[in-house]
């Protein structure tokens, strides 16, 4: 490998490249396996030591070996070399490996390109405000390195910093115009790899004791809502997820039973709202009970759960309408009613016996429901996130001995009781409550607001929501989970701590703006924006012309600014003019045709007192103009003397 020696890097350049790589790799450390982060760091350290001792690049064989080892490690870790995570791992290892063999400017440029790509991959993990700020800083640092690479040591740091800052600022208008006008293409261009959603949490579509207790630990946001109108009270906000109606003694699951579309009878006014759902591998829309209007490409199933056609691969914003007071399937089919009475045989004998006893005593199903709820309030039931483990007859154990549980325990036990007493019932999962942020009016629902409740079918009233958790712990429903639990119960701090609330709400309002307007800028918002700009119906040609025109305008404006005429920048000439002004005060004017020497001759005759000092100015000026002198200090000093003596 031969290269042009002029292209060789200066010795002081590699530290900049080390800095660039470290800054680009740093945020990944939180998300990749430890061995990967450690080897990247060690490789950078190795490259740094080699640079410190001024060693040549390692033998080619050694580098090949290191590359192969890196690939092998990635293949073992991710079981593939394709896909998002493995690709990111490759970047993380190749970036420092490239550092080891950097000799020319071209090598350095390859490294800078790798670093830019690494910055992009950081957004797989996080796109919040802090990530954006960090990335912007990294871009500025990389620019500095790039400028350093071209300019070399001769350029002092100050102009280098100024230039990097100016370039960043000049890039911003292009960023804004392109961000707003560049056509947004929806959805993946090619199949998303399997690992696209790894590490994200959400509701699951089955339930067994313990599931939701783990979900509660997460303070992540599940959805945000903006109500166009009054915000309903906390106790009214039930966001419906999947309905679980098949019980095998241990696990509740949804059944694939074919049901006719739901028949909803709204008894109150419709409530308009906008949901912003975080990305999740499922397709539930999590509408408020009961949805009356749905967005496009979504539908209601027979159990009132709204679903979209495809999983929510990204943060999605939809508009819905719900009626909070409603009647649902008053004329439920017998098949569905039968299905919701099923119980596994030979499980929970004591519960069945208790239900049979109640059925004897009460004729009215509504009274039965009340009796069951009363059972929860009158006995010593506790609401906790850390319930004891339950054996085979889980409902028996919960109802008669442990009596400590979380919403899903109560919902499951209540449904079993109802079914055993001959009332069709099922478990509904979803989110309940959420927190109103007074700063921006959004209701924020977190994973910790995940909830399970029951629904019973009563003749003449249809499916009616019954929340047994409310009977045990009314706080959970009225004010949110933060007050329902003792502070030892392991909830995330952001949900519990009162004193952090204000600060957190401000930060979240800001984040919400960010999510809504920056991250949530999509095809739809783009069309709205173009409509306000007067482009109601745009085809892609018009958009391309519009976009090209905007960029060209920006570029021309920048060009005009860049090439704006500078003030007279010849300092020698400025000093000479200054000296001539001094002469004018002594009544000696310089004629336009007079050379400095002619002028001096005239000064010697008309103002002999001034002549020696002016002579020094002329000598210095001529030396700068026509001689070998490039330094202006003499001239400056001579002009200063001419000025100072005059005032004596």
């Amino acid at each position: 490998m031969s290269f042009d020696p002029r292209e060789r890097l200066e010795r002081s350049t590699p530290p900049w490249l080390f800095g660039v790589s470290l800054a680009a790799m740093a945020p990944h450390v939180l998300f990749v396996p430890h061995w990967l982060a450690l080897s990247s760091a060690l490789l950078v350290l190795w490259a740094f030591r080699r640079w410190q001792r001024d060693e040549p690049m390692p033998a080619r064989g050694l580098l090949t070996l290191a590359t192969l080892a890196a690939l092998a490690g990635l293949a073992v870790e991710y079981r593939t070399l394709l896909g998002r995570d493995a690709g990111m791992g490759m970047l993380l290892l190749f970036c420092p490996l490239k550092l080891l063999e950097i000799r020319t400017r071209r090598d350095a440029m390859v490294l800078i390109v790798l670093a830019y790509f690494l910055l992009l991959t950081h957004f797989f993990h996080a796109q919040d405000i802090l990530s954006a700020a960090w990335t912007f800083g990294c871009v500025a640092l990389t620019l500095l390195a790039q400028i350093r690479l071209q300019a070399g040591q001769r350029l002092p740091l100050r102009p280098q910093l100024q230039l990097a800052g100016r370039l960043c600022l000049q890039g911003l208008p292009f960023l804004i115009v392109l961000f707003l006008l560049f056509p947004r293409i929806q959805g993946p261009l090619w199949g998303l790899p399997q690992d696209a959603f790894s590490g994200r949490t959400g509701l699951s579509d089955s339930m067994s004791p313990g599931d939701i207790a783990t979900l509660v630990q997460s303070g992540d946001i599940a959805l945000r809502t903006r109500f166009f109108g009054p915000v309903p009270s906390t106790a009214q906000r039930y966001w419906r997820g999947p309905v679980l109606d098949a019980f095998d003694g241990r696990i509740w699951r949804p059944t694939p039973l074919r049901t006719p579309p739901p028949r909803i009878e709204a008894l109150g006014p419709g409530l308009d709202y906008e949901l912003t759902l975080e990305a999740a591998p499922q397709n539930w829309l999590l509408a408020l009970d009961a949805p009356t209007q749905l967005p496009e490409k979504s539908s209601l199933d027979g159990q009132l759960t709204a679903r979209t056609a495809a999983p929510l691969t990204e943060r999605t914003r939809v508009r819905l309408q719900s009626a909070l007071i409603y009647r649902f399937n008053v004329d439920e089919t017998p098949a569905v009613r039968m299905h919701n009475l099923q119980l596994p045989p030979r499980f929970n004998p004591r519960t069945l016996a208790l239900a049979a006893e109640w059925q004897q005593a009460e004729q009215n199903p509504e009274a039965l429901v009340r009796r069951a709820l009363k059972y929860f309030t009158e006995n010593d039931f506790h609401y906790t996130l850390e319930p004891p483990r339950l054996g085979i007859h889980s409902v028996d154990e919960f109802l008669f001995s442990t009596r400590r549980g979380f919403c899903e325990h109560y919902a499951a036990a209540f449904v079993v009781l109802m079914r055993a007493a001959g009332i069709p019932a099922r478990v509904v999962t979803g989110y309940q409550g959420g927190e109103l942020n007074p700063l921006d009016g959004y209701v924020v629902v977190r994973q910790s607001d995940a909830h399970a409740w029951a629904e019973v079918w009563l003749a003449g009233r249809g499916w009616v929501r019954v929340d047994p958790t409310a009977a045990v712990s009314p706080d959970r429903i009225e004010t949110g989970i933060g007050r329902a639990l003792a502070s030892t119960d392991g909830l995330p701090l952001v949900v519990r701590a009162e004193w952090l609330r204000d600060l957190r709400q401000r930060w979240e309002a800001l984040n919400n703006q960010w999510n809504q307007y920056v991250l949530g800028y999509d095809e739809f918002r783009q069309r709205n924006l173009l409509a306000t700009l007067g482009l109601e119906t745009v085809d892609w040609q018009t958009l391309a012309i519009f976009l090209g025109g905007s960029i060209a305008t920006l570029l021309l404006a920048l060009l005009a600014w860049t090439l704006r005429p500078q003030r007279s920048t010849d300092p020698a000439r400025q000093l000479w003019q200054q000296a001539l002004r001094q002469l004018q005060r002594s009544k000696v004017d310089c004629a336009p045709w007079e050379t400095p020497l002619c002028l001096l001759a005239r000064v010697e005759q008309t103002a002999p007192g001034l002549a020696p000092r002016f002579s020094a100015v002329v000598d210095a000026y001529l030396a700068v103009r026509y001689g070998n002198q490039t330094d202006l200090t003499d001239l400056r000093a001579a002009v200063a003397r001419l000025a100072s003596r005059r005032t004596d």
Binding site: A151, G171, F174, L178, P188, A196, L555
Partner: protein, 330 residues
């Protein structure tokens, strides 16, 4: 070899000039300082710029595929920076003043030194300017704000005559390396290349006039020291003195037995023993140098002109110039 390459622009293309579109025709810029304006600066993406463009496309596809809003933003920011960087590259050349400096005569075989004046009248640095002169030479320089830089372009010489400044290409990739901006400044500069001197004893019968024969410089008695001229033989160098001064001073020549002050008539005809015209010119060059070094008055007669008797630097230059530009009749 027979024809010196005087009056030929070495960069003139083989294509007849009238076939070249006017804006591409190389024009010398004259001797006064001139400014690089936007009409003279060309700019194109460099190889690294194409790599960067590929990077942006790959990043954009990734951002679209994974619906990364900030990924879009990053790509657009980098694109905007690249566009702004294009203007910065352009500005690094724009408004630079160039002028012709001196180019003192040299003997063929020595390096001609063309002095270019780069005048940065702006208040910004102009880093990483590359000047290419001819196929082999490339110089990288950096101009501080308000700096007037004298840049020496050394060029090898092989033939006597005028050596014109070859086609210059001034280029820069600063600040991002993604673009290369270049211009072809062409200050009118030429350097006189004297013929290579051949060390020869001064002719014995040089006296064209009726004077006594000029006494040849002898090798017998040591007469003094003088600075070495390129034509002096190495065996006359005072090596011991040079060693004493550790090579810090120019080489000195031992002079022997200086002759009388008789006038020397250096005539083309005296070299008739040699056939090759270039060798004859070189011999005469050697004599001119020797006569000047010996402090004697001399005249020069060439096929195309005659120079009267004289001595001193001006006369020496006149003689050497006549020799350099001499067109011997075949």
């Amino acid at each position: 070899m027979a024809q010196p390459h005087a009056f030929r622009f070495s960069w003139r293309p083989r294509v007849p000039a009238r076939l070249i579109p006017p804006f591409l025709r190389p024009r010398p810029d004259g001797e006064a300082p001139f400014c690089l304006t936007q009409r003279r600066i060309y700019i194109l993406p460099s190889g690294q710029g194409l790599l960067y463009a590929l990077l942006l496309i790959a990043m954009l596809l990734t951002a679209i595929n994974y619906s990364l809003a900030l990924g879009h933003a990053l790509v657009f920011l980098l694109a905007g920076i690249a566009l702004a960087g294009m203007l910065e590259t352009f500005r690094n050349m724009h408004g630079l003043w160039l002028g012709a400096g001196s180019s003192p005569p040299v003997f063929a075989g020595e390096a001609a030194r063309f002095e270019l004046l780069l005048d940065n009248r702006s208040t910004r640095h102009r880093p990483a300017l590359r000047l290419r002169a001819g196929p082999a030479l490339e110089i990288e320089t950096h101009l501080d704000p308000q700096q007037l830089q004298r840049l020496i372009v050394p060029l090898p010489t092989t033939q006597r005559g005028w050596l014109f400044l070859p086609r210059l290409r001034l280029s820069t990739r600063y600040p991002l390396g993604l673009y290369v901006a270049w211009a072809y400044p062409q200050p009118s500069m030429r350097c006189l290349v004297y013929p290579t001197p051949i060390e020869m004893p001064l002719p014995a019968a040089a006296g064209g006039e009726a004077g006594p024969l000029s006494q040849q410089r002898g090798d017998d008695d040591f007469a003094g020291l003088r600075e070495r001229q390129p034509a002096d033989a190495l065996n006359h160098v005072a090596w011991k003195i040079d060693a004493r001064h550790d090579g810090a001073r120019p080489l000195l020549i031992k002079e022997f037995g200086s002759g009388s002050e008789t006038a020397l008539m250096l005539d083309w005809a005296l070299t008739a023993t040699v056939n090759d015209a270039e060798t004859r010119i070189s011999m005469l060059t050697g004599w001119v140098l020797a006569a000047e070094a010996a402090g004697r008055r001399y005249a020069l007669t060439l096929p195309d002109q005659q120079l009267p008797l004289g001595s001193g630097p001006a006369h020496r230059h006149a003689c050497l110039q006549a020799l350099a530009l001499c067109v011997p009749t075949p």
